[in-house]
Symmetry: C2
Subunit: 339 residues, 2 copies
């Protein structure tokens, strides 16, 4: 993981999707819109302009997937907006369920507006996501993809929460959970533009596979950052994942490694030692155990394998070259990120 | 409000919609399906069969609205399923937000499965609602109606929660809130079948108006039952609405009446007197003040006016007579209910 700059395509697409996304949000009831605008980073809690939002990786994938099928970028935009809405619905709800108080270096919406307001804003974004696809040609195919990705995402979050209460989570279960929680929507983002373009099923499936592998690579890197990332870089408190006893991929790989360090980690997770007020020493010890048990190495290598599989998925199908370059740039960026 | 039997059309349509609704729920991930099946009353928490669910008023309205346009009942079924899904999404989420522990004489889903599980099940139902309309002819028109009703419903719940912290809620605001929270989905239910049938806009609008007036009449009666209904009849603890300081329609009508009793009620609501542990005496006093201030009378008369307006909405448009009879039977039943 070397320091890398965001590829130009990311900001180019963000400029393209920003207005339609804001227009969609502007259709919400004013009180709900305010919560959403705060969450997106467009406004501060008092209504002053904010510093902008996330990286909009999913938007870029959606627009590029339309271009990959030879359609103009505009064809992918409703898909980009819809996927961003579902993604942000899940962030709003997850932050409430997980009790996370910080995101993108700012207090989470529920800490500012209350749990109910954040939940309702999430509900509104989810409803809106299907709405923005209504007027698009091939919008039904896009909705179908978004609907099943949404169900996977919800089931993945269910499992993720469930894992927190279990010590017997297998690595397979954990990979399935991440596949559902993160990779399903990434697969939808990477193919929804092509679906809106009415592209050939072989291309749609290849783009879907690309996104699914990429989603898992992304989650692996995210989990690594959740343990070893600097707070000023991740926007989250140091060791937050370990404190919350998150059964993230490197942790489960370590726990199921059959090594003494893995066993020690399992005991540490099973005991009452890792509390919210656990000191840096205990969090540091957990991180060392993950590393000693090979969890860190496995996650890095698996991320590399998934990234390679993502790139390979685009071979042998007729992808417009410029779009392919953009997709690969994004894939490399989100799996090597140090922001 | 005299004792009344459910009209036959209600159980007839429930039999018709039960299977497609269960089939839709069966598509959910097993862990989520379990929460939904409990909520619908199909299963107990341990998986044993349940005693069945709600009255499915909205299903009946949806199917009858297809028949009102001369289409077979089957045309309305995807609309019935979609509307039930949105309705039950909102019940699952509202029960978490309101902290309600009982519904339909049973512990609410969040008290059994936890808050996150109930929220995720609600999310899943919302996503599914748009999905079930995808394959229907004129499904886009149905989705559009469902999407905007969902946004109204969410905004209505937002206002309802907001009102709990305010003492200056006007009757107009309260009627708008109820219109959004309850009547919007009832309007959608009453017209979605006709929309799926591709009916003439004049008929669609008349059915929508019917449902909107009916929704308000229904809410007024529900609010009256929330104060004066017997717990064995309503499935809720006695005086629950008053204990929660709900700004329900009769309460706000009383508070804004300009009468001494209304002023006393406002002081009672504003003070710290109406706690969860408030004794029956204080709850009884609040109910007496609502009555003395004319809130009960106003709500009963307004319910009658809204019921009349609902019925009148169907005059002057070509509604298939048998369907019209069914719609009016349901309208009279849900506004005179004592179940």
């Amino acid at each position: 993981m070397t320091r890398s700059q965001p590829p130009a395509v990311l900001s180019a697409v963000r400029d393209l999707v920003d207005r339609p996304l804001r227009e969609a949000i502007d259709r919400l009831a004013p009180k709900i819109r305010r919560v959403a605008a705060y969450h997106f980073g467009w406004e501060e809690a008092d209504g002053r302009p904010g510093n902008g939002g996330g990286k909009a990786v999913r938007s870029a994938l959606a627009v590029l997937s339309a271009q990959a099928a030879g359609a103009p970028a505009a064809v992918g935009i409703p898909g980009a907006v819809a996927v961003e809405l579902v993604h942000n619905f899940s962030l709003l709800h997850d932050d409430v369920m997980d009790g996370d108080e910080e995101r993108r270096h700012r207090p989470t919406a529920w800490t500012v507006f209350g749990r109910s307001a954040a939940l309702l804003a999430g509900d509104a974004l989810l409803g809106l996501a299907f709405d923005v696809l209504l007027d698009a040609e091939h919008g039904d195919a896009a909705q179908r993809c978004l609907g099943s990705a949404t169900q996977e995402l919800i089931a993945g979050q269910f499992d993720d929460l469930d894992f927190e209460t279990r010590l017997d989570v297998s690595l397979d279960e954990c990979v399935s959970m991440a596949g559902a929680k993160t990779a399903a929507l990434m697969a939808c983002a990477s193919s929804i533009g092509a679906r809106l373009a009415g592209a050939d099923p072989a291309l749609v499936n290849a783009l879907d596979d690309f996104g699914r592998h990429l989603g898992l690579a992304f989650q692996l890197v995210d989990d690594l950052l959740g343990i070893w990332g600097a707070p000023e870089v991740t926007g989250k408190p140091v060791g937050a994942d370990l404190r919350a006893r998150k059964k993230s991929l490197p942790v489960v790989a370590a726990m199921t490694s059959g090594t003494p360090a893995g066993e020690e980690l399992r005991i540490l997770y099973g005991g009452e030692k890792l509390h919210a007020d656990a000191d840096a020493h205990v969090v540091g010890l957990a991180a060392e155990l993950v590393e000693a048990a090979g969890g860190r190495r496995w996650a890095m290598e698996e991320a590399d394998r998934r990234l390679a599989a993502a790139c390979a998925a685009l071979d042998g199908v007729p992808v417009v070259p410029a779009a392919k370059t953009g997709l690969l740039d994004i894939a490399r960026y989100v799996t090597s990120r140090d922001h």
